[in-house]
């Protein structure tokens, strides 16, 4: 694993970026406290309204006089938490469905795959709009749960493809000949080899959930209580930050979200290169 990371700059760069972002999110209470110098920089009217970026306020302030930099750091933490909750749920569901479908094969696979495809085909965004319109004041966990309903099929599909290719490998056949039970084969033989892909599946459904929430908030239907990156973009549009030239209010969250997307993509392509050496020099530069 260590050699894999040092061998591919893409994998390394992606992992480091994600680690840094997670670290910032974990330390966010501390960072926000430092910015406030003892006071709460996200409190309403903490500072003057619509300040331009300056050494005192790196990204200026918003319409309520809140420090934008502190807000963005806090929102990053919230976004990542929601993504983690949705990601864990959908990965667990996806892994279970994928292993049952891919390992059992036959009619079980047919039914499960068709059902997965059906959920994939239904445009999830209208359903999300509908759900959220009636779930206004809910917490982070509930938001994650709702988002997970729509992100497990992606995980299930990609993992199933991997299970299918692994199932017929010689060492699995060998395990089967030695009369290992199905569950043993899955846990001891298949799962360890799948971990990188499960990791990528987790990260992409987490990101998918984060982005779905951003989308909801941008059209003004996000949950009321939480301030995540999407909520900041929404306030930027809603309060006329565009016309006032207060660019950090929407550029900062967009930058962070883009960084997350880019990091995941790098990891994805890096992993492909490491595990499929023939692709080296193909996927990227």
């Amino acid at each position: 694993m260590v050699r894999a990371v040092t061998g591919s700059w893409k994998l390394a760069a992606g992992l480091i970026t994600i680690l840094v972002l997670v670290l910032v999110a974990l330390l966010s209470p501390l960072i926000v406290g430092l910015i406030g110098k003892g006071d709460d920089p996200i409190a309403i009217a903490a500072y003057e309204r619509w300040l331009v970026p300056s050494p005192a306020h790196w990204l200026g302030t918003d319409q309520y006089g809140r420090d934008v930099f502190a807000m963005v750091i806090g929102a990053l933490s919230t976004s990542l938490q929601i993504g983690a909750i949705a990601g864990i749920i959908s990965t667990v569901v996806g892994v279970i469905v994928a292993f049952i479908a891919g390992y059992k094969g036959g009619p079980v696979d047919g039914v499960l795959s068709t059902f997965t495809d059906m959920v994939l085909v239904i445009p999830s965004f209208p359903l999300l709009i509908a759900l959220s319109a009636y779930a206004k004041n809910i917490g982070i966990v509930e938001v994650g749960l709702i988002l997970a309903i729509f992100s497990w099929p992606f995980a299930a599909r990609t993992i199933r493809a991997q299970v299918l290719s692994l199932r017929s490998r010689p060492y699995v056949e060998l395990a089967r000949v030695t009369k290992a039970r199905d569950l043993e084969i899955i846990v001891y033989e298949l799962l360890p080899n799948m971990l990188p892909y499960i990791g990528v599946g987790f990260a992409s459904s987490a990101l998918g959930a984060i982005f779905a929430l951003v989308g909801l908030e941008v059209i003004g239907l996000g949950p009321g209580e939480t301030i995540d990156l999407g909520k900041i973009i929404f306030t930027a549009i809603g309060t006329g930050a565009m016309t006032l030239g207060a660019w950090p209010l929407f550029v900062a969250p967009i930058f962070l979200l883009t960084l997350l997307f880019a990091a995941l993509n790098l990891i994805n392509i890096g992993l492909e290169e490491v595990y499929n050496p023939r692709l080296r020099g193909v996927a990227g530069a």
């Binding site: 239904i122 951003v214 059209i219 565009m242 997307f261 692709l279």
Partner: protein, 359 residues
């Protein structure tokens, strides 16, 4: 589809005869099975969507009566009779399974989505078809442009791999291909509409004009569509570039390309006629599926630019629980994606001899 027609031409279509005939015509058997699966998927997805939307709490009839009262059309407090009338009108009477059966019957047999709540008594179809041209025009055109440019750029990036320019484009694509184009749209709007004031920020055409087919109006539509289209096309190009390059580079090492080069063919001909030709089919498939998704509309882009497309209609309809319109848009989206998939699965084996689905 043709398989069904062929089957009817067979005069002695006993059960055994059909089986024997299908055994002799594997493609027809495959097409028939594929079409059956399509129908099942269509029904399943519609059913899931139907029950999901109906389970949302809220009373659309009460909303309608409130709206009517606000517009002074309807003055008295709603009587039970009026409510019952509207419930029947919108297919909301009886329990949910009764509603489901009524809905299925109406949609499948009468091809009627029912009246729209937002623009009662206009049928939901009409509301949807009014919005459809805007969405198809914007998204369809952008999708085609993104695909064409992305394919060419990807082929070039693969061909010239190792050179700084090509590698820069590739790495840029890795970073940006999955970024929602909504982000780019926001930044472009900020720069070109609000800071520079060159282009309009919202709407689909100049509100002082009436929609008609003259040069002035079409020009206005193009001008208003430029910002949303550019953001979709640019992000789209990054995505197609990356996937085309991934298909392209392994092909470049093949013997027949070395041979083509050794024959002294011009590089451009080798690239387009030999290399690109052998890797564009998967991209045709992907493009077909992405076209199917157009019927989803793009809620975010349409919302940001206040564009009168399907996405806008959907958001408005969901807000006031206009079930008929919501289901209409959803059905169209499901239909689009599944049909694109079906057509591709049926057409691909005849386009590419290497693709074989039947045994």
């Amino acid at each position: 589809m043709t398989a069904v027609a062929d089957k009817q031409q067979e005069p002695a279509a006993r059960v055994g005869g059909v089986r024997v005939w299908l055994g002799r015509h594997p493609l027809a058997g495959y097409a028939l099975r594929r079409f059956g699966l399509y129908l099942v998927e269509l029904w399943g997805a519609l059913t899931v969507a139907f029950f999901f939307f109906r389970l949302i709490p809220g009373d659309p009839i009460q909303t309608l009566i409130q709206t009517l009262a606000q517009n002074y059309v309807y003055n008295a407090a709603a009587s039970a009779e009026v409510i019952a009338h509207y419930k029947k009108e919108f297919g909301l009477d009886g329990n949910i399974f009764h509603q489901y059966l009524v809905y299925l019957q109406k949609v499948v047999i009468e091809q009627d989505f029912g009246p729209s709540l937002v623009n009662y008594p206009t049928p939901a179809q009409e509301v949807i078809f009014r919005a459809l041209p805007w969405t198809i025009g914007l998204l369809g055109l952008s999708a085609i442009l993104a695909w064409v440019f992305g394919l060419l750029a990807g082929a070039l990036a693969g061909w010239r791999r190792g050179r700084p320019g090509a590698d820069l484009m590739t790495n840029l694509s890795i970073a940006l291909s999955h970024v929602p184009f909504y982000f780019l749209a926001l930044i472009l709007t900020f720069v070109f509409a609000y800071q520079l004031g060159w282009l309009p920020a919202r709407g689909a055409y100049d509100a002082r004009m009436d929609p008609s087919w003259n040069l002035e109006f079409v020009g206005s539509v193009l001008k208003f569509g430029l910002l949303p289209a550019v953001s979709i096309v640019v992000i789209g190009i990054f995505g197609w570039l990356l996937s085309t390059r991934m298909l392209m580079v392994p092909v470049l090492g093949e013997d027949y390309l070395t041979y083509a080069q050794a024959k002294g063919l011009r590089p451009r001909k080798v690239l387009t006629k030999y290399a690109l030709r052998n890797c564009y089919l998967p991209q045709v498939t992907a493009f077909g599926i992405s076209l199917g998704f157009i019927f989803n509309g793009n809620v975010l882009v349409e919302q940001l630019f206040n564009y009168p497309g399907i996405g806008q209609t959907l958001v408005l309809a969901i807000r006031i629980l206009d079930f008929n319109t919501v289901m209409g848009v959803t059905a169209l989206a499901i239909f689009g994606v599944l049909t694109a998939n079906l057509i591709l699965d049926l057409v691909l084996p005849s386009l590419d001899p290497r693709v074989k689905y039947w045994r």
